[in-house]
Subunit: 330 residues, 2 copies
């Protein structure tokens, strides 16, 4: 077979593999919301539009040298992963270079600027590249597949967070719990023999992630900047409605609501007004109620481990780490 | 051991592993140039500055559940990789959120804006995140380590390309050859048994990458936009000195030089001037000389394979693919 026929064969197989893989990922992203759908579709469009598949052909050629007369399904999958990896690089590069067309159509930042608003063009394109990067490894499906799957969830969660409209608990699960508790724990579990039942650990991770994020929200309001390393109230000034803020707006009195709304989304609010808003969050009980939710999440996490197949010392360790995650001061 | 003592033990081991790993990566990036050094140092600073290492502790806790009484070096390395992965996410998130401080110091885009100029702050921070993402997998050192090593080279090459000052051939090797020929070929070779000598394939990849990039430069000047999917002359208008442009400025007559300099770096140059500059690149012989360099690179690639341990049919295939890469029209 000459090189052109070889390339055509590889291209046919790789395009079919990509179409199948991308359809599944786009479908999943669409289910999360319109922004995640738009970003995923843009990655898929760019990946499928044109593309010589030369890189996939070099993978198949390497496999040919190593003994594969006809590219195996595994080799085609590696080739498809390299093509998605190229999409990641093209998306970030085109944005950095300010290029407007690619493969006979708009570059990702141009396409996403049209779909999600010009002001979001850069952020959406960087996230599109990050998503393509995660997808390439999901497809590669190597021994660390837990890593790439959780990485994909983080990027989807960040898209939801930036563009809004998703339930806060979904954002927390995707963008915080995934890589703060779940991925590390699953990676560690993976160092041992295959495990009977991971469900108790998944439930534990979910509750610890919830407590971790609530603590993060509280530290951003009433934490000590000398410990946390960042100023208080930035979420408020940026207009971010964290659970304690939603609670205060729902259950606080008129004075508390007015104090919070005076700074919510007002980046240039004076320091005294910010101070008053934070005082209102404390005095209306929202901070105290968040503390109780953290405590309840920790109790759930402890309960989840009851069914876990491991010794009591390991359970105590996980409970202790959950407390460190949820009761930290920085 | 209680959770706090466990966390402290893990933190000590993970910090030591990170210090050792990051020192090596930063040293290598510094050798490439000041911009790559600045970006790498910023990633390393953020990774080492503070950080509770809770995620690494969850890795070690998972390993504890799976049977490791004391975290093994392998487990500590996975934990360190997760911490660098967090740095990647923080760097991109902080830029998207416009946050200015993190862990008691400037966020990456703020630090890089100060070091490389405010106008480069966003691009440098996105690349810093991309580099951290590549590093996390380099450290993980999974079965696809060839992937992460080449990914790291791509990001370093893009930094050199964006910030300038590096020899063009180094940029081509790092940002194009790495993922266009070398990584795909090595991934394919990896599907077979360990191979006697990869050196001929590395040399082949180097020469094919050179020819591929030169063709890219030529297509951007004299290609058919209907085939390439992008307009001609954008590199010129953006002031990018590709090898054919350097050649024409060095060897063209005064008229040719004037025609090229009238548009080089002038984004708003009229179409007629751009046409005249491209005509000058052709008439002064720079395009023809680039074609000859492509031909010579292909001959080198063919020669490299003479010493390769594989059958003639596989060699013919590699030579054919090299020609497709170098003689394409899109």
């Amino acid at each position: 077979m000459d090189a052109a026929a070889f390339l055509a064969t590889v291209r046919g197989a790789v395009d079919a593999r990509l179409r199948e893989f991308l359809a599944g990922r786009v479908e999943e992203a669409r289910r999360l919301g319109p922004a995640t759908g738009a970003v995923a579709e843009t990655v898929a469009d760019l990946t499928m539009r044109g593309g010589k598949r030369l890189r996939a052909a070099f993978v198949a050629a390497g496999a040919r040298v190593a003994g594969e007369k006809i590219p195996s399904p595994g080799t085609i999958t590696i080739g498809a992963a390299v093509e998605i990896f190229q999409a990641y690089l093209l998306i970030h590069d085109d944005w950095m270079d300010g290029d407007e067309s690619r493969r006979g159509g708009p570059t990702a930042h141009v396409a996403l600027g049209r779909r999600l608003g010009e002001e979001h063009s850069a952020v959406a394109a960087v996230l599109a590249g990050d998503l393509a990067s995660a997808w390439s490894r999901t497809l590669l499906g190597d021994t660390r597949s837990v890593w790439s799957h959780q990485e994909e969830r983080v990027v989807l969660g960040q898209i939801l967070d930036v563009f809004g409209g998703a339930p806060p608990s979904l954002v927390v699960t995707l963008k915080t719990t995934s890589y703060t508790v779940l991925m590390p724990l699953l990676l560690g579990l993976g160092t041992g023999p295959a495990f009977a039942d991971r469900a108790p650990f998944l439930a534990y991770a979910h509750h610890v992630g919830e407590a971790f994020q609530l603590r993060d929200d509280l530290l951003g309001l009433v934490g000590d900047p000398a410990e946390t390393g960042k100023p208080v109230g930035t979420d408020l000034l940026r207009g971010k409605r964290t659970p304690p803020v939603i609670d205060a707006l729902d259950h606080g009195d008129d004075d508390a609501r007015a104090a919070i709304e005076a700074v919510l989304g007002h980046a240039d609010a004076p320091a005294a007004h910010l101070r008053a808003a934070i005082d209102a969050l404390v005095s209306c009980g929202a901070v105290e109620r968040a503390e109780r939710r953290i405590h309840a999440a920790l109790e759930h996490a402890r309960g989840d481990l009851a069914a876990a197949y491991c010794d009591d010392e390991a359970k105590d360790l996980l409970v202790g780490l959950a407390r460190l995650a949820a009761e930290r001061t920085k």
